[in-house]
């Protein structure tokens, strides 16, 4: 039994933020996370953002702006995303099933703040920022600061996520996105890793970016690994050590949990695999 106390569907953004200011409302777009939570006993007042024209992908100079209600499927098939933010396109193309990708939205994936959200590692690689709107105006916040814990964000109850901005021109020689699931489709990630490497013909790494989900309480970049890669020569040994540093960081930040005996060797192996693929070794 689904317990929806109230359901409203405002016609425009202004109306939406007025309603958000007045009541504690949970915005709903595709509902792919919310509906299962409602089935399991959560009750809430819903504000449907379906009429707010928040489904768009735009090139705005140094940034690509993606509307919060843009579906994973739209992102996965966007040529602009494929060209400028290929990791995000790939990540969104691997979320759940075709049905989930058609309904689920990027804003919802972020707002739900699951530690295994697939889009988040890719967004972190592109320095993603969020545009939030409320009656008191617009607020821009880095994604890394927005997600405050597992299933927790710094969204104020009166704020609506309007769009996500990603930096367009991150120096890239090669990239990789790996999602590990228990089966070949319709997976809740066991782990996902996004990586970008920038290096010259001499294989000396100019910069590297690495982010993972289902590894830390909150999906995040791995500065410890990125630092050790900086200026080093890309070799299988280097990437193996990078994997070990990633695993040490995981244990330091997440502690030893039931899944650690599995995740430790797998994070080493998949970090190595992602970097090897990105460096095209």
């Amino acid at each position: 039994m689904i317990n929806v106390i109230q359901y409203i569907r405002p016609r425009n953004i202004d109306e939406a933020i007025e309603r958000m200011a007045a009541d504690e409302l949970v915005p709903i777009a595709g509902g792919t996370d919310l509906i299962p939570q409602l089935r399991r006993g959560r009750s809430c007042r819903l504000l449907d953002i379906g009429r707010l024209t928040l489904g768009f992908i735009e090139d705005i100079g140094d940034w690509i702006e993606v509307g919060a209600a843009t579906s994973h499927a739209e992102i996965a098939r966007s040529k602009l995303i494929g060209k400028c933010l290929p990791l995000l396109g790939r990540a969104c193309g691997l979320i759940g099933s075709a049905q989930i990708r058609n309904r689920g939205t990027i804003g919802g994936n972020i707002a739900n703040a699951s530690p295994c959200a697939d889009s988040v590692p890719a967004l972190l690689i592109y320095d993603a920022e969020l545009k939030l709107l409320s009656r008191s105006g617009e607020r821009r916040i880095k994604l890394a600061e927005f997600i405050s814990g597992p299933y927790r964000t710094n969204r104020r109850p009166d704020e609506l996520i309007v769009s996500i901005l990603c930096r367009k021109n991150i120096p890239t020689t090669g990239n990789a996105f790996i999602k590990l699931g228990r089966r070949q489709a319709v997976n809740i990630s066991r782990m996902s890793i996004a990586a970008i490497i920038e290096m010259g013909a001499d294989r000396i790494i100019g910069s590297a970016r690495l982010a993972a989900s289902s590894v830390f309480p909150v999906s995040s970049r791995m500065p410890e690994v990125e630092r050790m890669l900086y200026g080093a020569t890309a070799t299988p040994e280097l990437f193996r050590i990078a994997g070990e540093v990633a695993a040490e960081t995981m244990v330091a930040k997440s502690g030893r949990r039931w899944s650690t005996p599995y995740k430790e060797p797998v994070l080493i192996g998949l970090t190595e695999r992602a970097l090897t693929e990105a460096a095209d070794l």
Binding site: M1, P36, P150, Y151, A185, S259, G269, R273
Partner: protein, 782 residues
Amino acid sequence: MSDQAENDYSIIGKDVPRVDVIDKVTGRAKYGADYFAPGQLYGATRYTDFPHAIIKKVDIAKAKSLSGVRAILTADDIPGRPLFGAVIAHQPVLCKDRVRFYGDAVAIVAADTQEIAEYAASQIEIDYEPLPVIDDPVAAMADDSYRIHADSNICTHHKVRKGDIEKGFAASDLVIEREYSTQPIEHAYIEPEAVLAEPGENGGITIIGSVQNLYNIRRAVASVLGFPLNRTRIIQATLGGSFGGKDEVMSAICSRAAMLALAVGRPVKMVNSRENSMRESYKRHPYKMKYKVGVTRSGILQAMEITIIADAGAYAAMSPFVTWRSTVQATGPYVVPNVKTDVYAVYTNNCYTSAMRGFGSPQVCFATESLMDELAESLQLDPLEFRLRNILRDGSITATGQKLTHKVSVGQALQAVADHADYVEKYRANINQTSACKIRKGIGISCSYRGVSLGAEGTDAAGVVVSVQTDGTVVVSCGLVDMGQGAATTISMVVAEELGITTDRIRFVNADTTLIPDSGPTVASRTTIMAGNAARDGCRKLLAKMKPVASTLLGCSESELIMRNNSIRSAPDKSSDSKTLGFSELARICFQKGIPLLSHGWYKAPSTTWDEATGQGDAYFTYVYGANLAEVEVDMVTGQVRVVKFVSAHDLGRVINRSGALGQVYGGVAMGLGYGLLENYAERKGKPALENFDEYLLATSCDMPEMEVIFIENPDELGPHGAKTLGEPACELAAPAIANAVANATGRRCRHLPLTLERVLLGVDLNRDEDRESAKSRNASQ
């Protein structure tokens, strides 16, 4: 029964589209939840809050006072016998003073809407005194274990005693002992349980819904209501899958809906959510299996000592029969001169377990087929060669002392899959893969023999009603049901072949207990052989009346009549004066002459024998044989197994519907793959650890490999046109073939299903010992 030569068939063996396909793809098919009746109410069930407890008090006052609530019933309101069960009648429709598993029901509600009914159910106040939760069947066997029922926790103990195992082990050069285990799994039919119960005229009750075994369910409902069978009518709606799963759970739900409908005098509909379906519906038995096996240096099996403990959960249901099939088939399809087998089904407070596609075979197939590979490795033989030295052949004696008098084709099946995929070469090459290789290849085989139909479980007979209409179209109905497996099409094809008409002239009508005789349950892959034979019998009885009319009209003898493609003609050698008569014309004339155009075909299976003390006897009247082969790629970094190629070979006697048979194999392998790699109905201290398909993982279409199917046709004299059984054999062999392939790839053997990422990588499974973060955050947000 005599058979025509294969090329004489006009319909048997062809590709015939399912007779129900248009209904199903257009949405015209009516499933249980699609039925509505004027004035209907909605039912809801209040389940227990503890897996094991004494019920001290049930207070319905608050719930009953809610607006829109029409009835709340508890065990005190049961008009007839409160307990049901086809084998042991001890399962409560509603629990009175004790609950034994987390899906037990305490009360039921009928209300104006589903929401009111569910809310009212949640407002019923129950006082409990929790009892110790017995969740381990091994611990439950101990004398001092808490008793779940009045008697011992051992529900069933089946034995096989053949030869002398001590002599057999003494004659062996190698004796190994291994333990294997399998997990509980959910049927996961796409349609959850759904029924509509209507109080009828004459004080009876009519129930339409998603029922697999109408007659078992009718007996249960009639007993609960205190009704005679002729006032208890069960009609089968189009079923959205069952796989053995819509039997006891439907007895409970039909009884509850009927009680509510009679209490309020209005129709009551009960439809389970997926969460409630998972919670209360029975599962496939998890098994713990110990095998001690002796073999000579030259690779000939000498003795097997087998101890199997099956978790029956809270109630017996079909456990005595499921474990009996395991007992018969526990050695696998091998000649073993000395056998000692003990199979126990044991009560616990876990979800009860009963029939599921395979019925006790998938577990023992996993054990024996893993064991054969392990023995072959120890003897440095390839697993194919080792199997071929020991398999059952024509005239072999089985573990239960039965001499096999039909064509025994397990060797043929094994050789077919092995040849198809170059098994021996690949097996050897895979062993020599370097440890640096991150994605490793593996290949594995498995094989089985399987008793056809019910065997010594009990009465084995079925009926089909064939009714020719005055325009020559035909209505066919059968006490064995179509639950998606294609029975409607198969039976229609047998009738069409027999009457010489096309399948489009036949309308197959779903079963109805009031109109069709009790044919036993639609289980044990018995429908093609039992209903097929009954359909032939029915058609022959009709033809005995219709043929004399035709021969008079055509001026030839009955033996010269050729009935084909909706017409009847005399034999071609009299072609000069050959006349033709339409089947529709013949039907019209027969009707005018007052000849009965309805017949009831019946088939009773040959007798079987079984001695409980020694486990010896002719357990089943015939057997089928099959072999599977899997090729896998194992990611050595993550433990992920990808099945890339699959070959199934099955001797099914005769293919009736080729596309239907292929569908059975594809679906069977999909279920077997899920069993091998993914599915696990995990419970912790008697409570399910998951409640929907987000965490209960089934194989998706993307997980399915390229598949080859090889049908071996050795017609069996007992089958209709030689046809036997396919549905369950298609499902029982995939998991061990995959497990053997994984061992071939990694050099490490997983003896416990499923082969999760963790098991394949680490050799052990990891259990989540903490609540999901999402659950915590939800509570915090409320």
